[in-house]
Symmetry: C2
Subunit: 221 residues, 2 copies
DNA sequence: TAGTGGTCTAGACCACAGA
DNA sequence: CTGTGGTCTAGACCACTAA
């Protein structure tokens, strides 16, 4: 793997150029084909190579490097930064869900769904607002749960299996209420993550996380 | 792999619980140990399992699913959405770099560096402002390049190898100038990606991408 | 120190998709 | 069609690290 990386890095193998097939490389490098396969597969996962059956392996024309963002529990995220975690439930009630929500959940308009809003704090400072809709129609026992102590973020992660999710990253201007909760001015630009979580084909929950002003999500590639 | 996923999903193996070791699983499932290894390694990469030598493999306590964001060329990103790509160089000049930049580049304050600002368009609408500093001290031939036709984004990707990068996702209020360029109002919340690219231990370039109002970066997990 | 995952080998068959 | 990557096997040694 190091040798292949070196050849790509030194442009010995140019972007777009196709490289020898696995069998040949194995002979040239004096190792087993499986080993070559493992190396090339890993480099392809990172985005450095493009691989297609029969067509062979090419150095990626545009090294579309892939950034891997880990999406931890909010509590873990805060505690990992060495700060103390605080949690406040702001509201929890069943109410008619707005159109964008019922649409995602494939339910009739104005269906009654569980709506939970909470504030997470780091060292006493507001960190993020969690505004969540939960598809209570598929979780009947849910209505008895109180999210006063344990956040919905945490409860769902531990109690509801899911198969996949959609994530959007974006920005929004703080509303009056958001500004108050996050101790900033209205209209301040806030970083937002919206996530919908699916179990097979049914949406389980939709959440909007509105972070405090200046928050950035960091990763490496 | 499917069988292991099933056991995790159905809570047959509870979060936090440790699962049989590779050798035992191979026997139980009637396959080779390498096959088990490959499956468990893949699931660990996704964040579903935690693996440590000697300690064994456990179902992740908090399924820290990892979202993979691909960071393509801006042109590719626009063309992939079926829109036509437009590019305008706004300025390109060597000037004293501000402190945060020289700091990252590990250079003396006010070092003269190449500063390029450009606007990328999708179907004629402003898409993103690219504001970039380039460590010209390590690329002497760079001063002759004009980014009037080919964006720095593209030129660098094709001409400068890099080993890794830092990425930040965040939000900012539009400045007067940004608002004009992106055809929106000042103070509008804009989604921002900041990236620093490294070659071994030297920073190659720093770029801030300020996207048009309402832009969201999407991915799945 | 011993148990676990990490990695490698040589050989094999298969599925897919490009020529 | 056929070359390519995808995947599997049985066996082996090694590196790390928790007990």
């Amino acid at each position: 793997m190091a040798e292949v990386e070196r050849r790509i890095y030194t442009r010995e193998w140019q972007p777009g150029q196709s490289i020898p097939n696995e069998a040949d490389l194995a002979i040239e490098l004096g190792c087993a084909r499986v080993t070559v396969n493992r190396a090339l597969r890993t480099l392809a996962e990172v985005g450095l190579l493009d691989r297609r059956r029969k067509a062979g392996t090419r150095v990626a024309l545009h090294p579309v490097r892939k950034a891997t963002l880990s999406i931890p529990l909010i509590r873990s995220e805060i505690e990992a930064s060495g700060k103390s975690y605080g949690y406040h439930l702001l509201s929890q009630q069943t109410e008619p869900a707005p159109a964008p929500v019922t649409q995602k959940f494939a339910l009739a308009n104005n269906t009654q769904l569980l709506h939970v809003v909470a504030l997470h704090e780091a060292d006493g400072d507001p960190f993020v607002i969690e505004d969540r809709w939960i598809n209570s129609s598929i979780m009947p026992h849910l209505v008895d749960v109180s999210f006063a102590e344990l956040s919905a973020n945490e409860w769902l992660l531990q109690n509801t299996p899911f198969t996949h999710g959609d994530i959007d990253f974006g920005a929004k201007n703080a509303s009056q209420r958001e500004a108050e909760l996050l101790a900033t001015e209205p209209d301040k630009a806030l970083f937002v993550i919206s996530r919908t979580t699916w179990d097979q084909t049914t949406a389980v929950t939709m959440v909007e996380l509105v972070f405090h002003a200046g928050h950035r999500k960091h990763t490496r590639l």
